[in-house]
């Protein structure tokens, strides 16, 4: 277990970049301000250094607690910063590894490093605390998702098509997209990508539309309800398209109830975004030709939809009843 942890930690540190863990929009000052200003900012914000930038946001120096102590001793705390700031600043870049950052802390012994982009503009600040927080956050995400994924993996559903029962080769999917559930505003990005993919493949536009709408709903459900990442897979054949959306999240307690139009458990902030009307599963059913859904509380949801098409003369509207 301990070995697993250390191996895991090592992998994370190798992959984690400074830009993933840095604090953005740090408090800065311009060189015309006085050291007294810098001291006040450090005192109020409880920070150990203030980056000094020019009007264009480029870093030109830094004032540390040490500079302030010396200024107080020397009696020049009211002097402008530009006369006393440290000008040779050691900095990190957004794409540096966290490993590099840790080496810097050891080598230079500073409490913080500014992060500069290629134009030397200040984009963030990294402290040891940022590193610790970044690693913990990453590790907890990876760990929970591994656990959940294993739960789902144990089931036979994971390997077979829900609709046809055939074994599924997900690595051989014609299209795959990982759903980012952390930002509600990204809901639908996968469906949009699938739409351009299917359009490029020359599928009838009405079929593409049906598939995009149903996938959009499925993807939004993962983002809103699952609290977990998920994947959209799409498999193409000559006369049908299969879309499978999986997540490893909370699951659905009562699928039958959830299928009813108007039934929703979505919170208000989701409704403000125009979702959570209780139409999601109903819409998936409406626009697909076959749909199956499997879920267990705490183990995630798998939705599979099949869409038939002919190369010409697709009606494009929900099959059958147009005005439910």
């Amino acid at each position: 277990m301990a070995e697993d942890f250390i191996t895991g930690l090592k992998q994370i540190i190798e992959h984690l970049k400074v830009e993933d863990i840095m604090s953005q929009d740090p408090q800065t000052l311009t060189p015309e301000k006085t050291l007294w200003h810098a001291k006040e900012i450090m005192r109020l914000r409880k920070i150990s250094g203030v980056p000094i930038v020019d009007e264009g946001g480029k870093l030109i120096g830094i004032v540390s607690i040490e500079d302030i102590i010396i200024a107080l001793e020397g009696g020049y705390i009211r002097d402008p910063i530009k006369e006393h700031m440290t000008r040779n600043v050691v900095y990190l870049q957004p794409h540096d590894n966290v490993e590099t950052a840790m080496e810097y802390f050891e080598r230079y012994g500073f409490g913080r490093f500014p992060v500069l982009d290629r134009e030397k503009k200040l984009v963030g600040v990294v402290t040891k605390e940022d590193i610790l927080r970044g690693i913990l956050k990453w590790f907890s995400t990876v760990y929970t998702h591994d656990e959940r994924r294993n739960n789902v993996l144990e089931s036979d559903y994971y390997y077979r098509s829900l609709i046809t029962g055939e074994p599924l080769d997900k690595k051989g999917a014609d299209f795959a997209f990982e759903i980012d559930y952390t930002d509600v505003n990204l809901a639908g990005v996968g469906a949009a990508k699938l739409k351009s993919f299917l359009t490029e493949k020359g599928l009838p536009s009405d079929t593409v539309r049906r598939i995009s709408i149903a996938t959009y709903e499925a993807e939004t459900n993962v983002v809103i309800h699952s609290g977990s990442c998920g994947v959209i897979y799409c498999f193409l054949s000559d006369s049908s398209v299969k879309v499978r959306v999986e997540d490893y999240g909370k699951g659905i307690e009562d699928v039958e109830l959830a299928m009813q139009e108007g039934y929703s458990t979505a919170p208000d902030h989701v409704r403000e975004l125009g979702f959570g009307a209780g139409m999601g599963l109903a819409n998936m059913k409406r626009f697909s030709d076959k749909m199956m859904i499997v879920s267990e509380v705490g183990k995630g949801v798998i939705v599979e939809m099949l869409f038939y098409f002919e190369r010409s003369g697709d009606s494009g509207n929900p099959k059958g009843n147009q005005n439910p």
Partner: protein, 118 residues
Amino acid sequence: MTLKEVAEILDAEVLTGHEKLEEIEVERVAAADMMSDVLAFSQPRILLITGLNTPQVPRTVSIVDGVGAVIVRKHMVPQTTIDLAKALGIPLLHSKFSMFEACGRLYIRGLKPVESLS
């Protein structure tokens, strides 16, 4: 009617798609705040009128093959929404009218609702 005429009738600010306004013909309109309703009941080539101003507006219009969106009732439209509309090629208008008034003004000028509901 063209989108340009829609913009004039609704006294709307054109946020994206200026170059296409005169080419795009509008015949049918859907008005909704719930994007799932739009997904459920819309048809291709509709113009969407909505009180939402999130990136989901252009994304939904793109998914249902709509011709554009008019955002009503909101004081401002976030830059993320405008950027996405631009990227997806969706014309975006911003009108200060309420949804009721925007719909009414377009209705009396001859625009129609979604087919299956008319």
